[in-house]
C-alpha cells in the first residue's frame, strides 16, 4: 500500500520483465497476452469455417467435429476474442503504455495495483484455457452464457467443470478489469502534467478514460451475475433456474441433489431473463469498451497523417462521452426476442437509434479531418482509414437491428454475425493494428517494415470485407447463426457456394496475419532505427527517447503549452507544434 510511487528502475530479470511495476512493461505484457489470445481465437474460427462448409473434414485435435464441439468452438472463440483480445489489447495494452506518457506522468497512479491487475488477468486467461482440458471439455453456452443452458450441468458436455471454470475465469477477469479501470481513471484525473488540461488531452486519452469509466460501471454487474450463477449451479439456489425444467428426460437437480440440511433441492421460480438483463447491462457497454480506444487511435492518426488539426475536437470529446452514457441505456436491444413488452422494446429502440447521432458526429469529423489534408499514406494511417471504413459499414446495419420489427426476423441469423464482427470485431482489431504500426517505433526503437505492412493491410481489408459483407446476405436469406451444420437443409442449398467463398476468404485473411506477426518480431530485431519522432506528431510520447526511459521523462517534468493537434498552424516554422513547445513559437 505504501510503495513509493515512482520507483527506481529495477535491475533483476523478475522485477524488470515479470513482476514489473513499470506501466510500459505491463502494457506490453497485456499486448502479448492479447496476441497469444487472438491466435487461439483465430484458430477456433478457422475450425468453424472449415467445418461449416466441409462438415466431414477431419481436423487436427478435434477430428470430426460434432455439433456440441462446434458450439464449444463458437463459445470459446467469442469469449477469448471479446475478453482477452478486444478488452485487453486496446485499453489495457496501449492504454497502459501510452496514457501516462501522453499526459506527462512518470507512471500510473497505483503501479502495484497495475501489476496485480495484469497478473489477475493472466490467471483468468489460464483458467479459461484450462476449460479445454477438463472432463467434458470447454463450455458450449455461448459467450453470452445464457441460462438455462449454462445453469444445468447435465444439459450437455462441457457444462460441468468446464462451465464452472468459464464463470470463475470471467469473475476473475471482472476483478482485474475493475482494478485496471480505477487506476486509469485516477491517473487521468490526478497525474496530468502542468498545462495538460482535460481539453488538451489527446483524444486517445479521452477514449481510454471513458472506456475505464464504462469498465468501472459495467464489470461489477457481470461479477454479480457470475456469483449468482455459480450459486445456482453448485449450491442449488434458484436465482435464474426456473422450476420444472426437463433436461434429457430428467427434471433438473443440482449435482448433489441435497442441501446441507439433507433436504432434496428442486429449482423453482428462477428467472432466466434476469441473467440476460444482468449480462447485457454489462455486455452492451462492453462493446464500447472494445471500440472506443480504437476511435481514439483513429482520431489521433487521421489528424497526424493528414497534417491537420482534428475536425471538431470538443465535439469528438462530447461524442465519446455521450456514446459512453447512452451505452448503458440500450442493453434491452439484445433482448427483443425475449418477449419483452413492446413499450420497453420501443424505448430501447429509440435509445439505440440515438447512439447513431454521436457516432455520425465522429464519422463526419473524421472525414472532415481528412478533407483537404496533405495525407501521408503510411501503414498506420491506412489502418486508421480502414477503421473508419469498417466502422461505417458495420455501423450502418445497427439501425436495422435496433428496430424490433426488423430485429425479430434477423435475430440469430448471420446478419447479426456480420454486424457485430464488422463494427466490434474487425474495426477494433484495425484500431489495434493502427496503434501497433504507429507506436511500434516508440515501443521498440525501430520502424516496422512498410511494404509488409501495406501487404498486410490490403489483404486484411479486402479479406475481412469478403468474409463479412456476404454474411449480411446469408442472414437475410435465412441462414441461422450457431448451427453447426446447414448443408443438408434444403432451403439453404443455394448458399453453399457463398459459404465456401467466405471460408476461403477467411483462410487468406488468416494467412495474412502471419505477415503481421513476422513483421512484428522481425522489426524488433532488424527494423530500421527509429528517430524520436518519426511521424512528426505532437503528443508527449514523441518527445522522449524510443523506448522511453524507466520514469518516462528522465527526471524532467514536462510542461504543456499546446493542444494535441496543432498541425499546419499558420505562421509556425514547422507544420506541427509539439505540445511541449514554448507558448510562443518563433520561426527559425
Amino acid at each position: 500500500m505504501s510503495e513509493q510511487h515512482a520507483h527506481a528502475a529495477p535491475t533483476g530479470f523478475i522485477r524488470k520483465y515479470v513482476f514489473s511495476l513499470d506501466h510500459k512493461v505491463i502494457g506490453l505484457q497485456y499486448y502479448f497476452l492479447a496476441l497469444v489470445a487472438v491466435f487461439v481465437g483465430m484458430f477456433l474460427s478457422l475450425f468453424m469455417r472449415i467445418h461449416l462448409v466441409w462438415p466431414e473434414a477431419n481436423l487436427p485435435w478435434f477430428g470430426h467435429i460434432k455439433p456440441e464441439q462446434y458450439l464449444t468452438l463458437l463459445t470459446m472463440h467469442g469469449t477469448i476474442m471479446v475478453f482477452f483480445v478486444l478488452t485487453t489489447a486496446p485499453q489495457s495494452g496501449f492504454g497502459n503504455y501510452f496514457l501516462p506518457i501522453q499526459i506527462g506522468a512518470p507512471d500510473m497512479a497505483f503501479p502495484t495495483l497495475n501489476m496485480l491487475s495484469f497478473w489477475t488477468t493472466f490467471v483468468s486467461f489460464v483458467v479459461m484455457l484450462a476449460a479445454f482440458f477438463v472432463e467434458g471439455g470447454a463450455p458450449l453456452a455461448g459467450w453470452t452464457n445464457y441460462v438455462t443452458l449454462s445453469a444445468i450441468p447435465s444439459a450437455g458436455p462441457g457444462l460441468g467443470l468446464g462451465e464452472d471454470l468459464w464463470i470463475i475465469s470471467i469473475a476473475i477477469f471482472c476483478v482485474a478489469s475493475l482494478m485496471g479501470a480505477l487506476n486509469f481513471i485516477t491517473t487521468t484525473l490526478d497525474l496530468r502534467a502542468r498545462g495538460m488540461s482535460l481539453f488538451r488531452m489527446p483524444l486517445t486519452c479521452w477514449a481510454w478514460f471513458v472506456t475505464a469509466m464504462l469498465g468501472l460501471l459495467a464489470f461489477g454487474v457481470l461479477l454479480a451475475g457470475g456469483i449468482l450463477l455459480l450459486l445456482d449451479r453448485n449450491v442449488g439456489t434458484s436465482f435464474f433456474v426456473p422450476g420444472g425444467l426437463n433436461v434429457s428426460g430428467n427434471l433438473s437437480f443440482p449435482p448433489g441433489g441435497l442441501n446441507p440440511g439433507g433436504h432434496p433441492i428442486t429449482h423453482t421460480g428462477g428467472s432466466p431473463l434476469l441473467w440476460q438483463h444482468l449480462f447485457w447491462f454489462f455486455g452492451h457497454p462492453e462493446v464500447y469498451i472494445a471500440i472506443l480506444p480504437g476511435m481514439g487511435v483513429a482520431s489521433q492518426l487521421l489528424s497526424t497523417f493528414s497534417r491537420k488539426p482534428i475536425f471538431g475536437y470538443k465535439a469528438m470529446v462530447y461524442a465519446i462521452l455521450s456514446i459512453g452514457m447512452l451505452g448503458f441505456l440500450v442493453w434491452g436491444h439484445h433482448m427483443f426476442m425475449s418477449g419483452m413488452s413492446p413499450y420497453s422494446a420501443f424505448a430501447f429502440s429509440v435509445m439505440t437509434m440515438a447512439i447513431g447521432v454521436p457516432s455520425a458526429i465522429k464519422t463526419f469529423n473524421w472525414l472532415g479531418t481528412l478533407w483537404g489534408g496533405r495525407i501521408r499514406f503510411a501503414t498506420p494511417m491506412l489502418f486508421a482509414i480502414g477503421f473508419v471504413s469498417l466502422f461505417v459499414s458495420g455501423g450502418l446495419s445497427g439501425p436495422f437491428l435496433a428496430q424490433p420489427v426488423l430485429d425479430i426476423p434477423l435475430h440469430d441469423t448471420a446478419f447479426v454475425v456480420a454486424h457485430f464482427h464488422l463494427i466490434m470485431g474487425v474495426a477494433a482489431i484495425f484500431g489495434i493494428f493502427a496503434g501497433t504500426y504507429y507506436w511500434f517505433p516508440k515501443m521498440f526503437g525501430r520502424m516496422m517494415n512498410e511494404t509488409l505492412g501495406k501487404i498486410h493491410f490490403f489483404i486484411t481489408l479486402a479479406g475481412t470485407y469478403a468474409v463479412f459483407m456476404p454474411m449480411h446476405y446469408l442472414g437475410m436469406a435465412g441462414q441461422p447463426r450457431r448451427y453447426s451444420q446447414f448443408t443438408e437443409l434444403q432451403y439453404l442449398q443455394h448458399l453453399i457456394p457463398l459459404n465456401q467463398f467466405i471460408s476461403i476468404a477467411a483462410f487468406i485473411t488468416i494467412a495474412a496475419q502471419f505477415v503481421f506477426v513476422f513483421n512484428l518480431f522481425w522489426s524488433m530485431k532488424k527494423g530500421k532505427k527509429a528517430e524520436i519522432n518519426p511521424w512528426e506528431a505532437t503528443t508527449l510520447e514523441w518527445t522522449v527517447p524510443s523506448p522511453p526511459p524507466h520514469d518516462n521523462f528522465g527526471g524532467v517534468t514536462p510542461v504543456v503549452n499546446h493542444g494535441p493537434y496543432e498541425y499546419s498552424v499558420p505562421g509556425a516554422a514547422k507544420d506541427y507544434i509539439m505540445q511541449t513547445d514554448p507558448a510562443t513559437v518563433t520561426a527559425h
Binding site: 500500500m1 505504501s2 513509493q4 515512482a6 527506481a8 506527462g104 512518470p106 497512479a109 475493475l178 479501470a181 480505477l182 485516477t186 490526478d190 497525474l191 496530468r192 502534467a193 502542468r194 498545462g195 488540461s197 482535460l198 481539453f199 488538451r200 468501472l216 459495467a218 461489477g220 454487474v221 461479477l223 454479480a224 456469483i227 449468482l228 450459486l231 439456489t237 434458484s238 436465482f239 426456473p242 422450476g243 420444472g244 442441501n259 440440511g261 433441492i265 421460480g269 434476469l274 438483463h277 444482468l278 447491462f281 520514469d551 521523462f553 527526471g555 524532467v556 517534468t557 504543456v560 499546446h562 493542444g563 505562421g571 507558448a583 510562443t584 513559437v585 518563433t586 520561426a587 527559425h588
Partner: protein, 249 residues
Amino acid sequence: MATTLSPVAVDEPKLGGRGPTMAPPPRDGGWGGGRPDEHRDRLRRYRIGMFFALTAVVMLFVSFTSAYIVRQGVGTWSDASARYVTDWQPISLPPILWVNTVILLLSSFTLAMAQRTLSRKLKAAPRGGTLTMPEPLLIVDGQRSIPWLGITVVLGAGFLVGQLLAWEQLRHLGIFVSTNPSSSFFYVLTGTHGIHLLGGVLALGYAGMTSLLRKPLATRFLVVDVTALYWHFMDFLWIYIFALLHFAR
C-alpha cells in the same frame, strides 16, 4: 537566424492539470520519500482511487438489489392452483443483526477518533522530520493514548463474528442458502458485505502494524485515512442491506 514572427495564438496554460504531482526522482536513483507535499499528493491520489473503487462496489450491490427485486416478483407455475404463484417466503431476520449494527456503527465512531488522534500526531510532528521516521509505538507526548485503531479492528472483527452467528442461527432453524430465494439473497448480501468488510479489517490491521514494520507515520495516516472512507461506506452499505432485507421482505 531566429526571426520572431507574430506570436502564434495559443492558449495560456491556465486550465487544469494539477501540475507535476511528484517531484522528479533524484539522479542518483531511488526516492527519498517523505516530503510533506508528496504526502499530500499521495493522500489525494489514494482518496480518488478509493472513491472510484467504491463506485464499483456500488454497482455490484445495485446489481444484487435489482436481482432481488426482480426475483421477488417472478412467479412459478403451480399445477395445483393452475396459475403463477410466488415462491418467495420471507425469512425472519435473526435479532442479533441489531446488535451487529450497533457494533458496526460504534466502529465507525472509533475509527473517526483514531483518525483524529493520528492527524494530531501528524500535525505535532516537525515537517519532514518524524514523518519519514518510523513512529515510536503509540506514544504521544510521553502519554499512552487510547488505541482507537485497535478498538476499531476488534469491533470490525466482532461484527463479522456476529454475522456468522446470525448465519448459525438460521442454519439451526433449517434455513440454508438454497432453502428459498429470500434466504439465498440473505446469504449472498451478508456474505458479500462481510467479505468486503474483512478487507477493511485487514487494511486497518496493517495500519496498526506499520510501526512494527518500521514504516513512516505518514503511511499509517494514509492507510487509515483511505480505509476510513471505505469503512464508513461499508457501514452505510450494511444499513442499506439491513433495510432492504427488513423492509422489502
